[in-house]
Chain length 140, copies 4
Amino acid sequence: MEPKFTASEMMEFLDQVFPQVRDDFAIDHLDGETVTMRMKIDERHLRPGGTVSGPSMFALADVAAYVATMAPIGPEALAVTTNISMDFMRKPEGGRDLIARGTLLKLGKALSVTDVLIYSDGVEKPVARATLTYSIPPAR
Amino acid sequence: MEPKFTASEMMEFLDQVFPQVRDDFAIDHLDGETVTMRMKIDERHLRPGGTVSGPSMFALADVAAYVATMAPIGPEALAVTTNISMDFMRKPEGGRDLIARGTLLKLGKALSVTDVLIYSDGVEKPVARATLTYSIPPAR
Amino acid sequence: MEPKFTASEMMEFLDQVFPQVRDDFAIDHLDGETVTMRMKIDERHLRPGGTVSGPSMFALADVAAYVATMAPIGPEALAVTTNISMDFMRKPEGGRDLIARGTLLKLGKALSVTDVLIYSDGVEKPVARATLTYSIPPAR
Amino acid sequence: MEPKFTASEMMEFLDQVFPQVRDDFAIDHLDGETVTMRMKIDERHLRPGGTVSGPSMFALADVAAYVATMAPIGPEALAVTTNISMDFMRKPEGGRDLIARGTLLKLGKALSVTDVLIYSDGVEKPVARATLTYSIPPAR
């Protein structure tokens, strides 16, 4: 599918919907089925021991799935997370950005399903994985 | 099971392990199988529209499951989240604290499993539910 | 909520929709929010070592959530499972029926969410837990 | 990682551990990180309407994750499913085999995590996805 946003249009759209994400996230790549999002890791995302907190990884997975869902739909619709499953597999390195690779597995009339793998930038094995369901209101 | 912490001892323990939680959370009740945690909702937890953000609800579920797991073990061990599944069912009300009721379903040698229901304080129907697995290192 | 089925009407309805469940399941209790289903354990549900197979426990959780969802809706609608998360916590005993206690946490226009705890009949601690989302077509 | 089994050695091993799977499953591909398993669809896996039942898809995901976990470990160990999350996205076609592609995301000392995508043979879009955690006893 053709995306209805470029990466920079999507960042502007995110900025209106979630103003607090601007400082934390960047879109490295966006097409109609996959997205690569970067979380710019900063002191406030860290836990003692220099690792990234769970809520920060959750926020990254959530925004990556939102972007993957909205890219082929366009700006006219809202969507809300209804379900997430997430596995924390390795300790992220505090000194590196986190990279989320999202793949839109399904875009139905009422629901989307997106798989997300999260990596410490430059490290091969994923630190976490998540699958998210977004509910898409019928207004679309 | 007898808990190895009172609620105030647990808050001191949390304070050492997750210093950032002090301002956000309080323990309303704690025994060896269940915990009731309160998230003191504040501007920084809110999303546009006055609802509580997903990462804030994740953080509440995570700390409630951690407290439920550590209560019967005591302070000598570490534990890390390995898995969460979470369903977002209703919009929390921005002007009310969130209340998490955690039930420890299993405490094994290597893993614990905790169910958590999250409510807007004073509202009957839950806004979210989660189940979390904590991995408990063998050092115990 | 008042259920739109008695337990025996629900068994007849299940019989039309899932003819293969008749021999395996019984409804011990049904109201508009909770259901207690019994899985009549038999040779074909067992694994080596005398324990109940994972697919059998999945089938029990799935039918319990279906019954909890349909009870307040009535027979006019179809519903399909879209998501399950399930934790296997203890080995079920091969010689005992399995009992599933389902609680309908949400019944929305498009989705239901049901929590299920599964027990070996007569044993206190649960062997498994599951949460299921059913998608409810708009025809309703 | 080098697998400790060829596909046919793994089938023999499965045969000893889960004798009931022999008729249902075949291994199309196996290496130390991925597995492709085929479920030979037959009358007994079908639901009214000619679609494959949920418990059958669960069984396929479970055995694919088991094979992905055991391939790099070898036959000396046991492993049990502790958690699954699964999304049902499209109706499988009753007349086609199901193909599961499993990817081992983590093999730790105590736990493995495997992602599984399930397809109707010859159809591009996945019908379901699952992530499974296996607990690996320390005997290893």
